[in-house]
Symmetry: C2
Subunit: 666 residues, 2 copies
Amino acid sequence: MTQNSQSLPLCIPSGFVPGYGQGNLALAQINPSPGDLAGNARKIIAALRLAEQQQVDLVIFPELALMGYPPRDVIVRHPFLVAENLKWLRGIAEATGKTYALVGFVEPLLPKPSEQRIGKAAFNAAALLGEGKIQAIFRKSLIPGYNEFEDYRQFESSPVSGAIAPEWLTDVTLHPPLQDGHGLITVHGHRYAVSICEDLWNDPEFFEHPHYPHNPIAGLLAQRPEVLINLSSSPSRAHKESVRHQLCGFVAKKHGTPLVYVNQVGTVDELSFDGGSRAYDGHGQLLARAESFQEQLLILNPFKGQGHIAPLPGQPSEASPAAPAFQANDTSDLARTYQSLLQGIRDYFAKTGFQKAVLGLSGGLDSAVVAVLVADALGPENLLTVSMPSAITPDENRSDTQTIAKNLGCPWIEIPIGTITEAFTQELSTIRASVEGIWGAVDARSNAADNVQAISRATLLRQLGNEFRALPVATSDKSEFYMGYATVNGDMSGALAPIGDVCKTKVRALARWLNEHRPETVKTPKNVLPLSVITKPSGADLKRDPTTGELITAEAELMPYEFADEVIWRLETLNQSHAQLLNTPFYYEQQNPLPPAQKAEWLDKFFDRMSKAVFKWFVAPPILIVEGGGSIAKSDYHHPIVANRIHWQGHSPREIRTFLSENTEK
Amino acid sequence: MTQNSQSLPLCIPSGFVPGYGQGNLALAQINPSPGDLAGNARKIIAALRLAEQQQVDLVIFPELALMGYPPRDVIVRHPFLVAENLKWLRGIAEATGKTYALVGFVEPLLPKPSEQRIGKAAFNAAALLGEGKIQAIFRKSLIPGYNEFEDYRQFESSPVSGAIAPEWLTDVTLHPPLQDGHGLITVHGHRYAVSICEDLWNDPEFFEHPHYPHNPIAGLLAQRPEVLINLSSSPSRAHKESVRHQLCGFVAKKHGTPLVYVNQVGTVDELSFDGGSRAYDGHGQLLARAESFQEQLLILNPFKGQGHIAPLPGQPSEASPAAPAFQANDTSDLARTYQSLLQGIRDYFAKTGFQKAVLGLSGGLDSAVVAVLVADALGPENLLTVSMPSAITPDENRSDTQTIAKNLGCPWIEIPIGTITEAFTQELSTIRASVEGIWGAVDARSNAADNVQAISRATLLRQLGNEFRALPVATSDKSEFYMGYATVNGDMSGALAPIGDVCKTKVRALARWLNEHRPETVKTPKNVLPLSVITKPSGADLKRDPTTGELITAEAELMPYEFADEVIWRLETLNQSHAQLLNTPFYYEQQNPLPPAQKAEWLDKFFDRMSKAVFKWFVAPPILIVEGGGSIAKSDYHHPIVANRIHWQGHSPREIRTFLSENTEK
């Protein structure tokens, strides 16, 4: 078990007075790692000690802080991990004194010997620890199973909300915090209600379509606690901050009860948790907020109204509503996206034990933006940029790659791929005639010659990574994934796809934002990307038009990205059908004349390409989820690969009747 | 909408008399495709017409037959598909006459205008159609969300079991089958209870750990139906047939009520449904069973005891219990595995619209077995086998590949990869010194030189596939996936991984089985694989031992496969921990002396390799699930990639106490 001396940044509000019994609380916004019980316990103990120094009544950790969220099916296949987490919980309990702690953990579902175990083997739970003991347990009732959430695969829903003392807690003879008897706990004289994540998110007055018939916090709040506490592990997605802010304020105000919300930070594969732990007063006013995307111990006092409010990335107004329209260049969302992707890259490398990355720079937009993100996340000295020109690569692109690397301060090397692709071509041309003798002529639509360039580049990166313990990074963007405009084992291959949930138009907006807004601490904060990289038409640079000799652009092969990206937004956010898309005026159409036949053609092409692209989503590396409506990341969206005969245009009842009668010989 | 003239094989029992009112039933075991509403409707209509010809009272289709199971999140992101499936349902209803039909479909959750919609947007439902109308609706109550099941992501649980007439069914003025009023339906004078899949699988007397607190069929059976019907889409897994047989017999006997069970066939990505639709009499005796892995219309009469029982693959005894011990060579399970994989390959190609495959034959076991499977599934003329020797490939392996192709009747070509790998090596050696100048010496453990061979081969296959509209097939087996002994973008790359859920020892047993038991209809049914291919030590053939000059075998680099495969079985089936594995005598140890230190070393190595292999699972192509306890297929098991700091050996409470106090400065 290695030691880690990193300390947790402490935030103390002005006017704060240490001392027990005043209702001082500490929000321990930590970054645990799933299954790393020792590492997570170390972080918990460190935060506890820091809180004790300030004589805080109660330090609150995020949902499942001890196990790390989400544990996924690991705790089902390997139940020993649950037993281990219980041992660690007892160890941490023993280490507590006057400062109490609320720690999220996995509670095994242990029936009495005479009873049958019904349902899943564990609860998503939290424990109140203090005075050397486990004092009470809280279990989550609402178990999400949609989008990025899969608690339902591992956790049983608790029919009871609030504090309990289950039978397995045999070592505890007295539960002073439980004496209240109504599911509340009393700590240093103050009465708190404790809830876990989703249990806060089902108010039927706030949500148009509640996910569950029951609102677990209603019963708790009826007991009139002084403060409602919520332990969360809730990922950052576009406009989520706005919804979270409004919901928390709404609940606090509705019940006239201060609300304290603790959220984890850190990225687990595709899910980026943004922290932003916070408190609201009983009027629904924001009292305190921790930093986004950073570990922090935030101290506050809801009884005295003491707290510090950290600004959000990009500093939008508190109440900025979820954007109703498709827009890629919302400044505050770009700031959040940047910080989210930075954390995603940093945590993926740190948690898998890698320091270095290799990246192919083409001179195009996507790889340029990914280079900036990776350099900022890992340090420029840890990113090897590689230019891998072919015979058709424009000289301008090659020099742009050097400029980008120089601006970033990254090492840069060049490996021409001509001899490699030539070797592939040679071997295939030798054998092609004999295969044609068996299977007939080559498919005229084959793009094998294009793909081999992309695969050769990815292979070189993978080999360099293997030789120097560095991870190759994939550069495909969300628009390309949707339309299958990415090469399997090629540009979409790598350890991580940082911009796989960022559409092309937003990548372009992000590039402009990066040129203006990167922090002063990095080398060349301003204008790191040459303007030509941002403005040149996107393309895979894999082939030239046989008549003009020009490189074929992506938009010529596909459709305008502004149009395609609006389709994606409408599919994910509004769940529109092909017919609705056809008949609803696009924002794109406000700027660009678009004949209906052209729109229909593009839509048909989009749906056709999307149907065939699903396999590529299946074999994609982890995609850092950033958007709100949806993504094609595997932990967010599931689509059968073989479901590619969906008739997206739909049928009229008359067409259906005709079809069925033609298939009928009654 | 293309036409398909394939007819459904009809099975009529001896003594059968056509005519309404006798209680003749037809089990329509069809192979629908998710989202292909027109194609699925065509199959439904064809089965209906066939049943009408026999004057059958009721024809029963599988769970979600109209939409295809599992639809996954497609119906959430694209709700128009649900509206479409309702149109098709009405169309099919109009086409019904005296023969009634039970058809699984997706029912949108439509609240009254004044009510809030709570929960998910749809039910997993079935409709009774007859006399030109929708007559009644049935909704699934138990919504699974574990292993390969994810209904919980899309479907709301119904609080009500049995027949209902929801408000949206406004076109129905009279529901004769519903007049009963107790959730049963009456069709041609007989009273039936109808349930959907999981609702049958929660009897607390049968299961040690029921998944849910409620048993929905208990209330239905209390109404004394004459027959209990269950519509299922239940995948085939090892020993599942045995559990299914015992459960169905148990339920029928317990309630003294005949049970009719209809299951879909066909493979959707990783999930292979085996059909085997069946009926039991009120004593729990098997009365009829349809074929496994084939479409069929099975006619039977539970009132007269008329039915035909098709044998199972490999014909085990009816009541053969789930094997308690690890065994790779269970003959009946090998027969089922063969049929399951055959269907998996056939359906993946057919449903994605491909006829042809390309496969690299190395002369080793895995690629040889996959070649037999693909040739048998698609026809030998549709499989191009490619030998891609390097300088270190033994001549024996090359000649073995020719023998296999010849035995199968497949085309065979050879492409040496020497010039390609040389081109990669050349380019890297040119640049290596400058990278070493930046990042220091090459990692001594690098296996870049090995991997480039595997990637070059996969690239050639992908290019051939691209040029000739053929899909490349991955050859990695389950043991290799568990220990990360497979090359990303190399041998584990392809459109499909047919044996990704088959351990090495079982692949070897399957090879021997194939040599004996392939059907007489194929070319060279016997001894298709040379004995040398089956008996030679497995290895990647990527490097030679520098001292002996011999090719390094996999078992020398890893551990004996018999040991590793038993670890996998114990993890997936018994959920044993590292400590339990260490302290439980293995079946392996009965045959082989194994000092405890050696066992500990192998276990440590296994867990270490497994932790690092999770990324490879994430980017693997679809794996055909065949085993019972678990798999690493993405639709079956989720494991965070970054969870690689799990301390598999566990800690004692004393170690934990010491660790926490060392991290404490109280």
